[in-house]
Structure formats: C-alpha cells, structure tokens
Symmetry: C4
Subunit: 201 residues, 4 copies
C-alpha cells in the first residue's frame, strides 16, 4: 500500500536524501579514475597527462550523464505525491546501476577504442535510462504521481531518445568503436525542448 508523501515527510525525505547521497558520491568518485604515477621526470608528467586524454573525456561525459540523470531523478521525485515499497525497490535497483558508472567510465577511459568498453558503457547507461523510465511509468500507473499526458509523453520521448543513443552505439562499437562515443554528444540536444519550441512557433 502506498504512503502519502505529505503525511510521511521524514520518510520520503530520507529516500530522496539517500538517493542524492548516492548520486553525489558516484559523480565525485569519477575523479579517482584520474591519477598520476610517482617518480616521473618533468617531460614524463606531460606525457602522462596527455595519455589520460581519454580518461578526461570519459570524466566529462560521465559527469554530464550522471548530472543529467540526477536532474531527471530530481524532477521526477518533485512530482511524486506518494510512494510504495515497489517504488523504493526499483529506486534501489536504479541506483545500483548508477553506481556502476564510475567503473564503466574507468573502462572507457582506459580502453576507449575497444569494442568491449564501449558496449559495456552503453549497456550500463541504457539500463539506467530504461529503469528510470520504468520507475516513472509504474509510479504513474499506480497513481503515485499526477502529471498530465503531454509532460508524460515528453518524458517518454526524452527517455527513448537517450536510451536510443546508447543502444545505437552498441552495434556501432563492433565496427568503429572509436567513433561510437562521438554519437553520445547528441545527448546535449534536448529533443522534447525542441519539440515544444516547434509546437509553440
């Protein structure tokens, strides 16, 4: 049975606080993938940094992606009026895949041009997006949140778009693994914002 949010503020607050904690730690742990060896000479330091350019790229893209997931999670929970144990359970499963991102990112930074790394990263992020969409759809169906059809449609388009990018990069990774990550730059285009703008015009 679902508990109403306004009657269980502390309990609801803890779910959100725990999720925020996990998000903020996962996003900060990304920095641990960067590192320098000890005892290098002056010229070697520059090389060591340059050799990590893929790791810097993975850092930037993963920070942006986790940040965006947090934002979506944030907006989603702002709309939620009630919660049940299924929502809490799915949220935990969702966070379990979010926490994997620093590892996938390490893999990507270390072996950026490798098929396995790109596939691993893509699968990880696609699962996060799909679990998020599942959580949203379920919450709506079970009456835990009240959003109008249009907003719901927009959220669905957005999720499908992001999941689509990562799913598309999987076959790409088998032929041109080093190109696939560039596809992810399409993440910075927001299709539903454009849709809204286009409708309003």
């Amino acid at each position: 049975m679902a508990k109403r949010r306004d009657e269980n503020e502390t309990e609801f607050g803890r779910i959100v606080a725990f999720s925020d904690g996990v998000f903020s730690i996962a996003i900060t742990l990304l920095v641990l993938n960067l590192g320098v060896e000890r005892g290098l000479t002056e010229g070697q330091i520059d090389n060591a940094l340059w050799d990590q350019r893929d790791t810097f790229f993975a850092y930037a893209i993963s920070f942006a992606v986790i940040g965006r997931f947090w934002l979506v999670h944030h907006r989603f929970f702002a709309e939620v009026d009630a919660f049940d144990s299924r929502l809490i359970g799915l949220n935990l499963l969702y966070l379990g895949w979010v926490v994997l991102i620093p590892f996938s990112s390490e893999l990507l930074g270390e072996y950026g041009g490798d098929t396995t790394s790109v596939v691993f990263y893509s699968v990880n992020l696609a699962v996060v997006v799909m679990l998020g969409a599942l959580m949203g759809a379920g919450a709506r169906r079970r009456g835990l949140m009240r959003i109008d059809d249009r907003t719901h449609r927009e959220n669905q388009i957005r999720s499908a778009y992001i999941a689509g990018i990562f799913l598309l990069s999987i076959p790409l990774a088998f032929f041109v693994p080093s190109v696939a990550p560039y596809l992810w730059l399409a993440l910075f285009i927001d299709p539903s914002a454009r849709l809204t703008a286009w409708r309003a015009s």
Copy 2:
C-alpha cells in the same frame, strides 16, 4: 534520559542524515572493488572482465543487502518517537559493521570459493542484522517507539530469518564454500510478507 523527537527535530534529523550518509557512501564504495588493469590487449580486456564475475556477483548481492538494511533502518527510524544516548551509541556500532561490508565484499569477490571469505562475509552480515534487531528491541523496551505486537513480531521474524541465512552459511562454508553464497538468494524471499498473505487468505 530520552529526548522527544518532535522537540528536537534538528538533532534527530542529524542522526538520520549521518546514518543516510554512511549508508550511501558504503553502498557506493562497493564500486571501487571493480577495476581494470592498465595496458591490456583487446582479448585480455574481455578475460579481465570475465575473471571479475565473482566481484560482480559480490557487488550485486552486497548492494541488495546494504540497500535492504538501509530500508529496514529507514522504516525503524520512521517509527521512533524519542532517542537517548544508548540508541545513538548502538546506531554508531551498527554503522561500524555496515561500513565493513565493502571490505567483506572485496574479500568475497576476490576469493568467492574460499571458506574464510564466506565465513567472514556471513559473520559481518549476521552481526549487522543482530545489532539492528538489538537496537529495535531496546528502543521498544525503553519506550522510544510505539509499534503494535504484530508488527514487532513480524520484524523479529524477518531479522531472525535473515540472520539465520547467514549463520547457516557458516557451517556450509566449511564443506562447500562455493555453494554457500547461493543460499543468500533466499534473502529475496520475504517470510513475513508471505505470512501476512497467508493469514489474509
């Protein structure tokens, strides 16, 4: 002497926030047990990931277990009306054992088929469950929370069930260490939910 929660909201809130912080960090640190060496060739990457299958399993089970402990902790503190220094002290001791889980999980991931690792992991988790049950029983006895007998009984059954699984896997680990972890899948069965369903029928 016990302080009433509604008169000490900030102080109570900090206990909960600190606990949430510890839980969310402990659960996120699990990802640090996963890692890839530098300088592998393409085929070696796949092998390196495959060799970590036990660590992935340990990650999944530990994430589920810490998540579940957090949930129980969360429900417990939602019922608490007052707190005293003994509750705070026990809570710290409890958290001290929760924080050990990422280490036990590392051990389990690295040496999954080894008696010592399985025993270590089982003892760690059994202690957490028992300290949690102790904290709950004490809080109830000292009048810090008001729950009816039936809910209390259900909580006790649940704790005894989970502690039982881990305690049972200790002798098992001496004979068939690689089988013991499969016993833990029984965690995903909730005995008191079934009990409730059975009673209702």
Copy 3:
C-alpha cells in the same frame, strides 16, 4: 522559466543538498592523496612522511580552497529566491570543476616544483572561480536573486581577486614553479573585508 524557491522548497533543497554532498566528498577525498607504503622499516617511515611534505601542503591549501568555495556557494544560494534550468546546469558544470580539485591537488603534491602541475592546478581553480562568478552574475541578471549593488560589487571584487591570484601564478609557473604556490597564501587576505573596514573608518 524560473521556479520560485518558496513554492518548491523540496526541489530547491535537493539542489543544495546535492551540491553540499559533492563539496563534502571532494574535500574528504583529498585525504586519499596521502598514503604510506607497506613494509617500511622504522627510519623509512619518517622519511616517507617527510617526503610527503608537498602533499601535506597541497592538502592544506586545497582543503582551505574547497572550504572557501563551499562558503561562497553557501552564501550565494542563501540569497537565491528562484532557480531555472540554466542555473542548475551551470551549477553542475561548476561542480564538475570542483570535483577535479582532488586530482589537481594530487598532481601538485606529487610534483610541486613542476611547471605543468602548477599550471594545471591554477587553471582548475581559476575556472572554478570564473564559473562561480558567471553563475552569480547570470542569476542576478535573470532576476533570480536580489542583492544590492554594493554587495554585488564586493562579490565581484572578491572573485576577480581570487581568479587573479591563480591566473597570475600561471606565467610565474613557467619561470619559478616552486615559488608560485606561495602566491596562493594571498588567498587568506580578504580584499573586500579590508575595503569595507577601510570605508567604515
């Protein structure tokens, strides 16, 4: 479109809580740059600690700097009355550069007298300050906060002063890299506090 803070307390609270989480983790991860090797003899331990004096210095300066950034962020968000997606986006970008500090600090601790490390550290911190100033100026222009001209001017002077210190240390690092970090001690002088004191006299 901007959302009013007093009508979206939970949502606003999460932005702040997430930022606080990131700040507190980034500042705490600084300790991971310190470390001792295993298996040293008694005399070697003292040497190992002494050899880390640059890392201790980097720890102290980075802790002070992140602490100060947190303080500025804290004061800034205390003045904000409304928020829009641009503010949230810029805040994420800002945090992305804050989280880099433990890595820059590691580099600085390991290779304190090296041009690259000092430049890297300086650029990192200068970018943080400039993004912070940008965030503040934008929030003010879009009417998200109401601060009087004088306070705004003081904030600008303070930002320009801190960014100036780090930008100045970049050319310095090319000629006298080991001297540049001493320039950063000027951070502990607060120019606008002095300005205020001088005006008041």
Copy 4:
C-alpha cells in the same frame, strides 16, 4: 556580525549538513585501509587477514573516535543559536583535521608499534579535540550559544580528559610505542557522566 539561527534556517542547515557529510565520509573511508591482495592461495588468505589485525584495531578505534567527535559536534550545534564567519571558519579548520584521521589511522594500522605512527595519530586527535574545545569556548564567549555553567564545565572536563589521553600517549610512544594505543581504551570511560552520577548519589 552573527546571524540568528532561526532566521537563517537554510544557511545554518547547510553548515550542519556539510559537516555531517564530511564526518560520514571520513568515517566510511576508514574501510579503504582494509584490503586484500589478489592471487593468494587458501592458507595465505588467513595469514593476510591475521596480518591486518592492527588495521582492524585501528579501524575500530578510529570509528569509535570519529563517531564520538561527531556526537560532540552534534550536541554542540544543537545548542548553537547564532553563527558568525569565525565559527564557520573554525568549523572548517576542525573538519580539516577530522578528515586527516583516515590517513593517521592507515599509518597506525600499518605501523602500530612504531613511535612516529603513534605520535602522529595522537597529535592528530589531540588537535581535533582542542579545536573543538576552542570552537565551543569561542561560541559561548561571543554569545552564540546559551549553556549553563555546569554543562559548560562538564564539556570542558570531557575535552580536557580526551585531549589529555592523547597528549599523554605522546611521551609514552617514545618508550613503549606498542603499549600507548591501549591507553586510548580509557576513552570509553566518560568522566563527566561518572561525575554526574557521583554528585547525584
């Protein structure tokens, strides 16, 4: 100038939340000092765990100590009615020494019987206690909190007692380094609680 707490709830809340964050991360990072090498045989695992007994001891004592510091900090901020920039600054300095504890603990776990480690650990903890006492005394003198003389006296006794234990273990470390840590078990005796009990009798 001091800001009243009840008029600046969000701002005050962030100081507390940031401190809680730092405390909970520092206490959780302690687990990273524990670790197992890869590729050990069955018998070697047991030895590897047994060789870490000092690290387990350091983990337990440091967890208890940080937990206790958090408790004191928690009680202190529960009494605070107002805050000024000096309190915030001192609090940051205090946290900067708290965050060092995982490193001191690593040193102690690795080289428990060594003079340098014991001195380092003792100095670290003594500084934390003294900064805490300084923060409390200053806050009281500047009228930021209202506590009666008796409570204040008790807090002072408690701080002096804890600081005394760590300061005492410094000379001890020069003669019998492996004995000094046992002195710290005296931490678990609460002198002012006993004092209160004795007065009441």
